[in-house]
């Protein structure tokens, strides 16, 4: 509660001083356990601000809404550490100018919410390095462990079952801050690389390509997972790929706003034990 009150004041100050034109935060949702994104432009709107442990959504995707940052004015945004990593990637991929972003950082343990020190992306580089070295989640998710123990056939069956439910609503894509393409590859129909139909084959293709496009870019904010209306554990694939690029290329997505995209760069001594 104290954090929330402090931040309400901060938001009001930021708006009053004109240092930001808008702050993106959270407000109460349609049920007590729900939170909605909130776009604060006035002091009154700031009073609606809520900040607690149920504020899970990574809001950074809203920053790349067309036209929002084109006037070069600054925008404030409430971000968890993963969200800060997201905007670092967006900056590294030239989707936003990091100078325009005022970060109102927070994190939570259990029900406690605490603010994060700093306002600019650079202020958090120490924190992010720490997270890279010491991942918060020390124990692997049991389901992920279960999948990794399966043989290929069992894994295929597992995902076939999961993907068979997919309805191709693309909530995963739309919820992901990294999916900012003007035209998604599934919407490119000449040729149609990914079958648009939501039969299991088409769903398989879509989910594999989505995961590939997020490899080295996913910060595991969980937006896709929470958005999925048919409850596919999408986070697991992305988590697996994050481990792959970390182990393989020491790449921790979103460590800095100038980080080179892992799949647009290479090292001459990259591992190649799998190549015949």
């Amino acid at each position: 509660m104290i954090t929330q009150e402090k931040y309400r004041t901060t938001v009001k100050e930021l708006l009053a001083s004109g240092s930001v034109k808008m702050v993106i935060g959270y407000k109460p949702g349609s049920t007590p356990d729900r939170r909605r994104p909130l776009f604060i432009r006035t002091s009154e709107e700031a009073d609606q601000l809520v900040l607690d442990s149920t504020c899970m959504t990574n809001l950074s995707g809203y920053l790349v809404t067309e036209g929002l940052l084109s006037d070069e004015k600054r925008v404030g945004i409430f971000l968890r550490p993963e969200g800060i990593r997201s905007i670092n990637i967006l900056a590294a991929e030239y989707q936003l100018n990091i100078e325009q972003i005022v970060i109102l950082g927070f994190d939570s343990t259990g029900r406690d919410v605490r603010p994060l020190e700093g306002r600019n992306a650079g202020d958090f580089s120490g924190l992010l390095s720490e997270i890279k070295e010491k991942p918060v989640q020390t124990s692997k998710e049991p389901l992920l462990e279960r999948i990794e123990k399966m043989n290929a056939q069992e894994r295929f069956d597992f995902w076939q079952e999961e993907f068979s439910r997919c309805i191709k609503c693309y909530a995963c894509r739309q919820a992901c801050p990294m999916c900012y393409c003007r035209r998604c590859i599934v919407d490119s129909n000449q040729p149609q690389w990914i079958n648009t139909s939501s039969h299991t084959l088409g769903n398989f293709e879509w989910n594999i390509v989505r995961a590939f496009h997020l490899s080295g870019r996913c910060v595991q904010c969980g937006n896709c997972d929470r958005a999925c209306p048919v409850n596919i554990p999408l986070r697991l694939i992305n988590q697996r790929m994050a481990t792959e690029v970390l182990d393989g290329f020491d790449h921790f997505a979103g460590l800095s706003p100038t980080q080179e995209p892992v799949l647009a760069s290479f090292k001459k001594d990259d591992t190649e034990t799998f190549i015949l």
Binding site: Y94, C181, S188, W193
Partner: protein
């Protein structure tokens, strides 16, 4: 609606013996969009090509597939035929049913089935081919020749004499290369330096040649006609503009016991030195590693002796950026380190020497002033054993290939020895005598018949020292008996191998090399002087072991290729380049980072009032080489590669 012509070539029996071409033609005739499907014995023949052209005209074909040999063989042939028949040449695809089908499979039915898939897939591709126009790029008419040995000199002089600019880069302080080290040359026995040094002088004085010695190529960017080359001028510590080459500094230099590279360790040099007396330019360099001043901070004898104040210990490496249209690589070879043959005792017994060392002994300008004297005691050897193939044709310890020149120079050595040491005896252990070449076999016969060289066919198993003699044990395979020869000197005909940094250097220039580090020609028979990279040509022993006539011939051939390139103001290039869909590009610039050629730029998209709407990627068609790395990176599928478009490849797979 597509109207595709399918032309199935029998290639005599090469294809038809395994693939049922009649069945293939009939099946393709039923393929959607195929208007003509015919077979013929040799489509690459004149009547064959005429029939293709006629079919294109008669049926107003929208594309053709030639099912024949590899596109690497005849793609150009049939594209030309298309153009002659009024069809855009890029509407032609080759289905490779020879190298990758009929020649490699034993079962006829399986081969026919595979051929059918291959041709169908290409039909599907060609349906989606676009009419492409070749790209014109300007040509910078300035050649870079890398290496100042005989091949480099020849290429530089040929190009310069035709009126084009040349930059010649040599990493040593002087021109000359290996040829300058030789005594006399086979098969005429004319003095190597006598024919070499005038060329060196001519090169240095040529108004069209810019000579950069003691210099190395640092990086090469760009592409044919438009290379950007950075040269590192290594610091000589001697001002080239003021030094007159009087040699006072060398006389005064107290560090005199340095093993001379030029004399293959048989002679000594000073720390400030020119490699040899006739060096071009005749301007010394300071060998920093051996210089007393650089080691101890005291001495400067050279500086004190120099009346022109040309010595500058503060000199730094300098970089020169050049715009270059074509490159001739003439980086030469090195002699294999014969220490790998412990049994021959090289390095252990001072009188076991390499062929190149023998050249220095025999050379009038060498450390013994042309007298054949043993390195150990300076005595004239009475009995010399030559061991051929000391490294060549030996997959176990040496190299698998034949170094090509050793038979000839060993015969020459035997003759030179016979001429210089009357009554001396020579034994030559050999595997075969390979003396193909104008006057070559006559030359070796002369060595045997006139100069009494004793050839023993067999290999040497061991050399050891006994009572001041080198005992050479071998086997005479013609007699089937072991032989032991007591010798005063043993000369090893060592293998010619690639330069120690040949592979790294190839990567710097971007050319391909073989397993030995010799540079690959674009085609062994038909494009022997072109490298795998357009605009880069090969000359001399950097491509494979060669003697002087061959090196000179190849150098002149490279020069003529360069001149042919320079004969045009603009160059036509394959239009296989990436293009970007600006409407869908998200401007993430991953492609900019991924492009190996820095060919992708950021382009501003503005509205009518000039307001910036967004930035998108723009592919510079002059720089793009068409690898497609950016296309694969592009998540939104905005980039595509002409000639290998997403649509084409999709159709190819879907047509299988």
């Amino acid at each position: 609606m597509a109207k595709i012509g399918v032309f199935i070539c029998h290639c005599g029996e090469n294809i038809a013996a395994k693939v049922d071409c009649t069945k293939l033609a009939a099946a393709l005739g039923e393929h959607p969009g195929v208007a003509v499907s015919v077979e013929y014995k040799y489509f690459c023949s004149d009547p064959g090509q005429e029939s293709v052209k006629k079919a294109i005209r008669d049926n107003n074909l929208s594309g053709i597939v030639i099912a024949a040999c590899s596109p690497r063989m005849h793609e150009a042939t049939f594209r030309k035929a298309c153009a002659e028949a009024g069809l855009n040449p890029y509407l032609c695809e080759i289905a490779n049913i020879r190298e990758q089908c009929s020649w490699v499979h034993t079962d006829g039915d399986m081969a026919t089935a595979k051929a059918m898939d291959i041709v169908r897939s290409m039909v599907e591709k060609v349906k989606r081919n676009n009419k492409l126009q070749s790209i014109e790029v300007p040509v910078t008419r300035r050649a870079l020749v890398i290496g100042g040995g005989i091949a480099g000199l020849q290429a530089a002089l040929d190009i310069a004499n035709a009126g084009q600019e040349v930059v010649l880069v040599e990493r040593e302080p002087s021109l000359g290369g290996h040829m300058a080290q030789l005594s006399e040359t086979f098969p005429t026995l004319d003095c190597s330096q006598c024919i070499m040094t005038p060329r060196m002088v001519e090169t240095a004085q040529h108004p069209k040649i810019r000579l950069l010695t003691y210099a190395e190529v640092e990086s090469v960017d760009g592409y044919i006609g438009n290379f950007k080359v950075k040269i590192r001028m290594k610091s000589r510590y001697v001002d080239m503009n003021t030094c007159t080459g009087c040699g006072d500094c060398m006389t005064k230099c107290p560090a005199k016991k340095i093993s001379s590279e030029f004399d293959c360790g048989l002679g000594k040099r000073t720390a400030i030195y020119t490699p040899f007396a006739q060096s071009v330019p005749n301007i010394p360099v300071i060998d920093k590693a051996s210089c007393i001043y650089f080691k101890n901070g005291k001495c400067k004898m050279c500086q004190k002796s120099c009346q022109l104040n040309s010595i500058n210990f503060e000199m730094q490496d300098e970089f020169i950026d050049l715009e270059i249209g074509a490159i001739v690589v003439a980086t030469g070879f090195q002699v294999q380190n014969t220490a790998v043959y412990g049994e021959y005792g090289y390095g252990k017994f001072p009188d076991v020497i390499t062929g190149l060392q023998f050249e220095r002994l025999a050379s009038a300008s060498g450390p013994t002033a042309g007298k054949i004297l043993r390195p150990s005691d300076g005595k004239e050897p009475e009995n010399v054993v030559f061991i051929q193939c000391a490294g060549s044709r030996d997959p176990s310890k040496g190299v698998r290939y034949c170094s090509k020149i050793c038979c000839m120079y060993t015969a020459k050595h035997a003759m030179l020895y016979a001429h210089k040491v009357h009554g001396g005896k020579t034994h030559i252990f050999y595997m075969d005598i390979r003396a193909a070449g104008k006057g070559y076999d006559e030359f070796t016969r002369r060595a045997i018949e006139e100069d009494e060289a004793s050839y023993v066919r067999g290999r040497v198993s061991k050399v050891w020292q006994e009572n001041g003699k080198l005992m050479v044990r071998g086997v005479d395979t013609l007699l089937g008996k072991p032989v032991t020869v007591a010798a005063d000197m043993v000369v090893l005909a060592t293998a010619m191998v690639s330069q120690p940094n040949a592979k790294e250097f190839a990567k710097t220039i971007g050319i391909a090399y073989d397993e030995y580090g010799f540079y690959n020609e674009a085609h062994l028979k038909l494009r022997p002087v072109e490298s795998s990279t357009a605009g880069v040509f090969l000359a001399g022993a950097c491509q494979s072991p060669k003697d002087i006539p061959d090196s000179v011939a190849q150098a002149s051939a490279s020069a003529s290729k360069v001149l042919a390139l320079f004969s045009k103001e603009k160059l036509e290039r394959e239009p296989v380049i990436a293009v970007n869909n600006e409407a869908t590009c998200a401007g993430c610039w991953g492609c900019v980072l991924a492009c190996p050629y820095n060919a992708i730029e950021k382009k501003d998209i503005r509205d009518r009032s000039g307001r910036l709407i967004k930035q998108v990627a723009y592919v510079n068609p002059g720089l793009c080489q068409g690898c497609g790395t950016c296309v694969t990176f592009c998540r939104s599928n905005s980039l595509d590669l002409a000639g290998f478009t997403e649509k084409q490849i999709f159709a190819e797979v879907m047509g299988l």
